[in-house]
Amino acid sequence: MELSDANLQTLTEYLKKTLDPDPAIRRPAEKFLESVEGSQNYPLLLLTLLEKSQESVIKVCASVTFKNYIKRNWRIVGILVEDEPNKICESDRIAIKANIVPLMLSSPEQIQKQLSDAISIIGREDFPQKWPDLLTEMVNRFQSGDFHVINGVLRTAHSLFKRYRHEFKSNELWTEIKLVLDAFALPLTNLFKATIELCSTHANDASALKVLFSSLILIAKLFYSLNFQDLPEFFEDNMETWMTNFHSLLTLDNKLLQTDDEEEAGLLELLKSQICDNAALYAQKYDEEFQPYLPRFVTAIWNLLVTTGQEVKYDLLVSNAIQFLASVCERQHYKHLFEDQNTLTSICEKVIVPNMEFRAADEVAFEDNSEEYIRRDLEGSDIDTRRRAACDLVRGLCKFFEGPVTGIFSGYVNSMLQEYAKNPSVNWKHKDAAIYLVTSLASKAQTQKHGITQANELVNLTEFFVNHIQPDLKSASVNEFPVLKADGIKYIMIFRNQVPKEQLLVSIPLLINHLQAESIVVHTYAAHALERLFTMRGTNNTTLITAAEMAPFVEVLLTNLFKALTLPGSSENEYIMKAIMRSFSLLQESIIPYIPSVITQLTQKLLAVSKNPSKPHFNHYMFESICLSIRITCKANPDAVGSFEEALFMVFTEILQNDVQEFIPYVFQVMSLLLEMHKNEIPSSYMALFPHLLQPVLWERTGNIPPLVRLLQAYLERGANTIASAAADKIPGLLGVFQKLIASKANDHQGFYLLNSIIEHMPPESVDQYRKQIFILLFQRLQNSKTTKFIKSFLVFINLYCIKYGALALQEIFDSIQPKMFGMVLEKIIIPEIQKVSGQVEKKICAVGITKILTECPPMMDTEYTKLWTPLLQALIGLFELPEDNTIPDEEHFIDIEDTPGYQTAFSQLAFAGKKEHDPVGQMVNNPRIHLAQSLHKLSTACPGRVPSMLSTSLNAEALQYLQGYLQAASVTLL
């Protein structure tokens, strides 16, 4: 493309078309531009247009197009690959770099921003090596005196340098920073001083001040970036200049710069806020050098806090400022700055208390944006809020001054409570602040799970609870003073471990009552508080609050919980649903009378939300609640399972048919639970579904695999005979699933779960023809890509097989696949790896299996395998006695990451659908050690003399000693 007027004209036309709302016109134009991107001069044509076009809309469009073009194409990634060729030729690159800075600086602001962005993208790649004159070019503009130009330079510099704030120290980075410092630090300092002087000469010119303050903000930001990695020599030498000026800017005010806007921070606030950050940076990183300035900053920042208003626009400034004080006050060598009683009082009174007040904005959030309010207040996403900063300052001050601070605040709390008492409807905010103050003063350590875990001993929490919290909650109207209600409930929740149990018991009916409150925050808090109380631990690992203690409240609790779900704004309230689940789990059989109504309500809810699942937590707890209903009811009355199936299957079918992906793993788990409840042969309704469960499409979704395996296991447990007789043609499909799972390093253990169930439950003749293939498949995996997890599962499986089919059958099938295979597996896999098997049941299976190989497998006694007999016995004794070997070979360290590219969190395991641990050996063998002794005894009677001689020749002494222990315990001897 030549730099011709004709081409400029063409490009203008196309750019215009890209703005057309009609896609039929817009799309081809965009396509065209993309197709000419690789042509030489294309970027230069764009630059020409954005500078010279007659139409301002084309100028802007060209600048955006240019920026995006640079963003996509400037970076050359490593060695050029075919599909990513370098689209910008060298001469264009040089021309762009030569022209872009002056162009940017002379452009109107809208275009300047685009070009500034483009410069920083280019700079990220080319600066400093391939763009050596960029800095001087920029610095020279500082002298222009034109602050439009200067701000352009500063903005560009900021976007170039801000990465210094987060990148790791490296030679390359520091070389660049040094270069920048050498060229930039002095001019920046001079500019800083000059700008400040101009501020005082233009103190009465509002529009000039705005521009100058924008510059100062950028300068302060640049200061932060340039000083971030380490304290540069230049800035250490010029600390006086910078800090003196920063300090005076902190104390500066000018009516002309104050804004009317209550929400948006003005220039003055932004600048001061950045200065607080700069001071905090120095205080943290360069303490030694900054020490002489620090006290001045402490005073200035604290005065700033005292004089700053409550408007939202000051929030960032105030929270930055308080955080600065909080970080300083807990350091030993600055302790003295805060020590004085007057200082402490003044900080408490003028900084902390005002910033804990409930503001109009909080009130709006409480009513209109409850979800956000709850998240901030309950889940601690309140970082950067004033309250939070004030709370941190309280905790910081308590490090050295817990006594005095508690004393000062006690006075405040009392006076605020008195204010409230005088006229509650007007002064309720005073009480809110008092509660918040007590809370922040008392809490020293906190977790979501346990609430406060460490409290300030100087605060009497129970007394406050009885005198000031309970009365509010006992008041007749649940809808009066909702904020105070929420405060009170929250107080119970977080101090539940500090308040005595009898007080908690008194609170429970109050909380249940507040489930009816109209305020979303209040009834949500009530549900959450109940849920938390129900999870508290008592002695002996039981719950603190027992089902018996809850007996009088069961009906009202369940009624109010389900009613709360019908309150406006709470139809999918996860806190309420979680409370329902927890109540079921606590109350157990006392909920049975209410189950018919409960299950109807849950089913309706399920049907409703399955149209558009949007609240994953809510849904999860809903399924948990369904599982609990089933378990609790069927435990008392197994026949009830039919009525659950009746209630649920219709919805389940709809979910499966509509492929509601979020719910399918849950449905499988509930079905497994239901199926396991059946005592007799599998119902036909389940059998009809069986073929569908083997559909590959279901197995492609990672999240389906665990629950589907679980479900198939339930089918095998309950219906192996039915499958063998009525669905024998599906057995290959079933094994196909096994094969699919075993092929994956991530899912192979699931494949083994399935295989173990098949071997355990299917009638032998039904799988006879497949047995050899199964082993071949396993051996292939073993040969090509074995992992520790695979070996562990494999060992359990072959021993289970041995128990089920006998040791001889195991040896025969191995050796029929390949001669001497059995010996090889013993020698290379079983003996060296058996130590890695983990889990009670797994170890037991292996012990019984190996005992069989040792004592019920004739080839072990009279073929070349005999030499493996003692090593195998020794390995078995090791399995009994040695600690588990949990070393993992190096190359496996990263398997999880490498082999599960399709990581999905879609599977959410339901705890209450949990499967009981299954022990296929069960009663057959109680104590595997004694079983070994008895089996050896039996063997030795069959061939007297052989066993003792094998033991005495090669079993090591320690193992022999253990073995003698087993023999003694079993009261048998070896002949």
């Binding site: 990465r163 704030r165 987060h166 990148e167 790791f168 120290k169 490296s170 030679n171 390359e172 980075l173 520091w174 070389t175 040094k178 990695q229 380490d230 304290l231 540069p232 020599e233 250490e236 943290q284 990183k285 303490d287 030694e288 970080s327 350091r331 030993q332 601690g380 970082i383 350590a445 906190q446 977790t447 979501q448 799970k449 346990h450 460490q454 999870t535 631990r537 690992n541 039981t542 719950t543 789990s585 937590h617 999860h620 948990e624 435990k635 990672t702 899912n747 253990h749 889990g839 949990n886 190096d890 360290h893 999880d896 395991q909 705890a911 209450f912 949990g914 499967k915 009981k916 641990e917």
Partner: protein, 516 residues
């Protein structure tokens, strides 16, 4: 990528727990670029002779200040280039006096006069000792300036001239030469090696004897230390082997300056590859170094600590030698030292010991290093805290589960988690890796629940959560990883006990594996 290979290489090792402990040891040369002011506690590179010492005054001819100050620069050029030895001496002396002025010596102006070659020539005037001495002094002070200044002296051929003056019968001349050579050696590796190649070492070492006056011995020691100094390249190993025995003797001297400079020399020698460390270890000097490390004087403690710090960057055996010499008994005091740079250096040393095998970690525990380490992590200067973080990181990488438990019990978590607020991405990343290590140990003990609760109680969880929005991609990924792995399972942990009477929750074996 903004971070070097060295970096990612290290991180890899970090995850392959305890695989190759030596790679955890961090040499002093992390980055060779400095943004900061040269450190105040570094040894002085070059020195100018400002005040008249007693020795100098006594051998100089009578000095008439008025007469001297009247000499203009033109006069000096003329006199120096002329043949009148008296005027030569006067002019050289005037030059030397200008250069010895306390403020702003006119080094550049003197160089511009073009008289340096002439001054070098005066060094060879063995018949005129006062002239030799004044020229040597003037040149010493010129060489004490910037690299360009030193270069002017070297380019005029001063190196061989000064080396031959080492053997001058006049002690004050040989002493002045030692000084000049020290300035030249201190300038760069290039000049240092030029001196070594001109065989400076034998005559220099020959000056050391029991009779050498202390003042003189100080100069010699300082010059020797400059001959050991600088990297890229390191000084030739065989030359260092010659210097070393003398340094060892000097280190046993009672004069503080001599001890200090000989310690500096050894600290340079050990600041390199393991074979360099080995020659120092082989001399058996480590116990003395450790003793000196414990001395109250900063000028001794600083270089001795550096030297020991360097030794423990070496092999496990070299580190063991330092441990056997008693380093662990002295470190607690240094970790609590009032001066931040000492804290930092001590913590760095400790971090490298912690990078060793578990038996060395055990010694570190036994010798009571955990309490001061935790204290430092809590209250130390940020630079020292960063090193302490490394120490903890290395400890958790190479330590056994029991040792890691001991570390946690000593209260390391709270200060460690607080440092997640540090304004330094690297430190944050190292802490996150350490936290992962702790969780890995907890996993083996089945205590992840307790650890995550502890982390949350100490406000660590919200700090880690906040890091998920960090601008540095490695940091946010590490934070995300920890949250996903150890804190997102809250519901399941939550659901486990409480109503477990009927075994409803007994699902533990499979549950682990569901974590793909």
């Amino acid at each position: 990528m903004p971070f070097g290979n060295e970096q990612s290489e290290r991180m890899k090792k970090f995850k392959n727990k305890g695989k190759d402990a030596t790679t955890l040891r961090r040499q002093r040369m992390e980055v060779s670029i400095e943004l900061r002011k040269a450190k105040k506690d570094e040894q002085i590179l070059k020195r100018r002779s400002i005040v008249f010492s007693f020795v100098h005054a006594s051998v100089s001819p009578a000095e008439d200040k008025n007469e001297m100050s009247q000499l203009s620069l033109e006069d000096i050029v003329e006199a120096v280039n002329g043949s009148n030895t008296e005027l030569q001496l006067q002019a050289t002396q005037a030059t030397r006096r200008m250069l010895s002025r306390q403020k702003d010596p006119p080094i550049n102006q003197i160089i511009d006069l073009g008289i340096i070659p002439r001054l070098v020539e005066f060094l060879t005037h063995a018949d005129n000792a006062p002239l030799q001495f004044e020229a040597a002094w003037a040149l010493t002070n010129i060489a004490s300036g910037t690299s360009d200044h030193t270069k002017a002296v070297v380019d005029a051929g001063a190196i061989p001239a000064f080396i031959s003056l080492l053997s001058s019968p006049h002690m004050h001349i040989s002493e002045q030469s030692v000084w000049a050579l020290g300035n030249i050696a201190g300038d760069s590796a290039l000049y240092r090696d030029a001196l070594i190649n001109c065989n400076v070492i034998p005559p220099l070492l020959a000056l050391v004897s029991p009779e050498t006056p202390v003042e003189f011995l100080r100069n010699i020691t300082w010059t020797l230390s400059n001959l050991c100094r600088n990297k890229n390249p390191y000084p030739p190993l065989d030359a260092m082997k010659k210097v070393l025995p003398v340094l060892i003797c000097l280190m046993k001297h009672e004069d503080k300056d001599i001890i200090s400079d000989s310690c500096w020399a050894v600290s340079y020698l050990t600041d390199g590859s393991n074979d360099r460390i080995q020659i120092v270890v082989d001399t058996g000097i480590l116990p003395r170094l450790v003793e000196l490390m414990g001395r109250p004087e900063l000028i001794i403690m600083t270089p001795a600590l550096r030297a020991i710090g360097n030794v423990v960057t070496g092999t496990d055996e070299q580190t063991q030698a330092a441990i056997d010499a008693g380093v662990l008994a002295v470190l607690p005091r240094l970790l609590r030292h009032a001066k931040p740079s000492i804290q930092k250096e001590a913590a760095w040393t400790l971090s490298n010991i912690a990078a060793g095998p578990s038996r060395q970690i055990q010694q570190l525990i036994t010798c009571g290093l955990l309490p001061p380490l935790v204290e430092l992590l809590d209250k130390g200067d940020l630079k020292a805290q960063k090193e302490a973080v490394w120490a903890v990181a290395n400890f958790t990488t190479g330590g056994t589960v029991e040792q890691v438990v001991e570390l946690v019990q000593s209260g390391v978590l709270k200060p460690l988690l607080n440092l997640l607020l540090a304004k330094d991405s690297k430190t944050i990343l190292v802490i996150l890796d350490t936290i992962s290590n702790l969780f890995r140990a907890a996993e083996r003990l089945g205590e992840t629940g307790r650890l995550s609760m502890l982390v949350e109680e100490l406000d660590g969880l919200e700090k880690i959560e906040a890091l998920q929005t960090h601008d540095n991609s490695m940091v946010y990924r590490a934070a995300l990883n920890i949250i996903e792995k150890y804190f997102s399972g809250e519901e399941n942990l939550d659901l486990q006990p409480g109503t477990s009477q009927d075994g409803l929750y007994d699902f533990s074996v499979e549950k682990q594996d569901f974590n793909f």
